[in-house]
């Protein structure tokens, strides 16, 4: 009896010591080494790929942001700013579990494919996007109708960017051709020609647009 208790205590002690040693190796040394190397080799990326205009941060090229007016619609949602290209719908929102700061929270709608709520949302977005851009409802592409997975999707499809070009040009008093060229210049093809989808980074496009509008 005494021997088995002692041997159980010995193996429990070994378990605890092993955990503490491996915590130092995997939880302290490893992340510090990786952080050091990452900060040396890829400083900007390791710190969140911030985009700067005239030395001032205007966001991260990896995170979507909203381009809205101060005015709100009847549901209390801010209205989109016609002067800017609009991102995909986002389902990310505050979720007040154990929060001290009201953080930018990532997440999806998690609505099912047969959900009535999702169906209604898709139909409303189709009408709204078509009316906002002055195009036919059937022309609105799928990424403009569905919320992304992260709620922070920085990209839209080239089709959605092209669809917005005429409205953006008009609101900024720019020739439509120039804005369309801007969209073309900011369209990124599939990586190595086959990975992922074609996309347009909304922040980079809007930064270029703002510059173009200011140069007039």
């Amino acid at each position: 009896m005494n021997i088995s208790v002692r041997s159980a205590a010995r193996v429990a002690g070994a378990g605890l010591r092993a955990l503490l040693v491996l915590t130092v190796v995997c939880g302290v040394i490893y992340p510090l080494v990786v952080t050091g190397l990452a900060q040396l080799a890829f400083h900007d990326k390791a710190n969140g790929s911030e985009v700067k205009v005239d030395g001032k941060s205007v966001g991260s090229s990896l995170l979507g942001q909203s381009y809205t007016l101060d005015k709100k619609d009847k549901d209390g949602n801010p209205l989109p700013d016609p002067k800017f290209f609009q991102p995909r719908p986002s389902a990310a929102g505050p979720n007040a579990e154990n929060t001290r700061y009201s953080l930018l929270v990532s997440g999806a709608s998690n609505l099912a494919a047969d959900s009535k709520v999702l169906l209604e949302a898709v139909e409303k977005r189709r009408t709204d996007v078509a009316a906002f851009n002055g195009v036919s409802p059937s022309a609105v592409p799928v990424d403009a109708l569905t919320a992304s997975a992260s709620g922070l999707d920085p990209d839209i499809s080239p089709a959605y960017a092209r669809l917005q070009a005429a409205r953006v040009a008009k609101a900024n008093g720019l020739p439509a051709g120039e804005v369309e060229r801007l969209v073309k210049d900011h369209t990124t093809g599939r990586q190595l020609g086959f990975m992922g989808e074609e996309r347009v980074n909304v922040l980079k496009l809007n930064v270029a647009l703002k510059k173009l509008a200011a140069s007039r």
């Binding site: 193996v11 002690g13 070994a14 378990g15 092993a18 955990l19 491996l22 915590t23 190796v25 995997c26 939880g27 490893y30 990786v34 952080t35 190397l37 900060q39 080799a41 990326k45 390791a46 710190n47 969140g48 966001g59 991260s60 990896l62 942001q65 909203s66 381009y67 979720n95 579990e97 154990n98 929060t99 001290r100 700061y101 953080l103 997440g107 999806a108 709608s109 998690n110 609505l111 099912a112 494919a113 047969d114 959900s115 709520v117 999702l118 169906l119 898709v122 569905t146 992304s148 997975a149 992260s150 922070l152 990209d155 499809s157 599939r190 990586q191 086959f194 990975m195 992922g196 989808e197």
Partner: protein, 563 residues
Amino acid sequence: MSPVLSGVLQLTAVVAALALVYRPLGDYMAHVYSSEKHLRAEKWIYRLIGANPRAEMRWPAYLRGVLAFSLASILFLYLLQRVQGALPDSLSLGFTAISPDQAFNTAASFVANTNWQSYSGEQAMGHAVQTLGLAVQNFVSAAVGMAVAIALVRGFARSRTGELGNFWTDLVRGTVRILIPISVIGALVLVACGAIQNFAGIHEIGQLTGGTQQVNGGAVASQEVIKELGTNGGGYFNANSAHPFENPNAFSNLFEIFLILVIPFSLTRTFGKLVGNVKQGYAILATMGLIWLGFTALMMWTEYAHHGAALQAAGGAMEGKEQRFGVGASAIFATTTTLTSTGAVDSFHSSFTGLGGGITLLSMMLGEIAPGGVGSGLYGMLVMAIIAVFIAGLMVGRTPEYLGKKIGTREIKLAACYILITPTLVLGFTALSMALSSPPESILNTAGNSVHGSGAHGFSEVLYAFTSGANNNGSAMAGLNANTPWYNTTIGLAMLLGRFLPMVFVLALAGSLAEQQPVPETAGTLRTEKPLFAGLLTGAILIITGLTYFPALALGPMAEGLS
């Protein structure tokens, strides 16, 4: 290029990359677990642990090591979360202590290599818990899985001894020689793509139209890489691998899929090397690969076809998917993560087509063996192989044997116990949750309250939660509020029992096999390295899973698909 062609090419690229590293990595791992030499750093570690790395262990001693280490891990992780509120802000980011039931759930989850999360990462866990607690378990829980798998392989490879190796040596070598080196390289690749790696706090960055946006800093890339490589799956952020800071572009997405699959597939080579016949490993690999490819193809087909009223109206299955990945790569990620006990997501399974959701569920129900979690996939598949030779033996009326070992009463009893554990946990807890009065309140989508779909969808969410927990996957069909005392506790139990009870049977089986005298191969021996056996094994897996879960699947995804 059409999206479908791009999807097929991406799948091909993943397969090609896996094929390229299969032999070198598999051989290297075989060397790691059989080498007589100890690195100097390892010797220091053994001295600190107080373990003799050369001492051989019989199965009860090996099991005691596994359990003692895992118990210490659970207690440490639980305490770390409970004291978070008392830590300085630089370590806690100002977050308070986690509640007891959620802290238990999270500790059980990460130690059991499940990484089910009933919290949102960016809203609950500071640097200390993430990096000192959760990330560490990402490494060591994976190393424990690999150690147990290697112990079972030694059971086949050794004869007339009960000795299965040394748990501490296997644990330390798996961590130091396999997981850490790959992680350092992988983390830097992810940072090069744009994943963040810093220790900044929560800070404001500007916005183009004025105003600011709040973002977290964190050691994200270093945790992301082991989250995938160790088939863990617990995201730094709530959106998991869909968050651009975790998975910045299409290449990093494929790279993460590769990381998830590389050890589980390559371990079949390690197995072949250690039992002295690499062809035996190829047969296991063929079975795993066949199921993974088949499920992935089916998933891509259903997601491109985008059935479901809302998806039809939108013109594509892009709800809950990111533009930079698209439908094809998201489908590959979804089957990969659910077939490997990973549970990371780059797109949200709740918004997949009805059939797509069913495939993710079925993938987990197979028991995470095709190719399965690191280590757990291999030992799970070897147990199924024992069942398959037993079935074949019954058909031809011969005593079944596998790799020169007789599959007698004791072995088949242990294998049967192994495959009964998870279905018992999944179906038992799901039935309890549906029968009791308060747990169903967590379901956001009952038939009366059709916010998230039909009542069948609500049932699927509960079934998914327990399937994910008991099989140590950890992905969620969100829409179920799992952060309640009931779900935190029951899913926590399902994860622990679903992880450690099977290990008990696997190690007992390993001990029993290692004691046997090998039986010489005769003309009547079933050739387990041939395609015929891979076919038999695939069939056995699909039939056993199908028979076990058909009634539950009929009530959930199938009812949803037919309604």
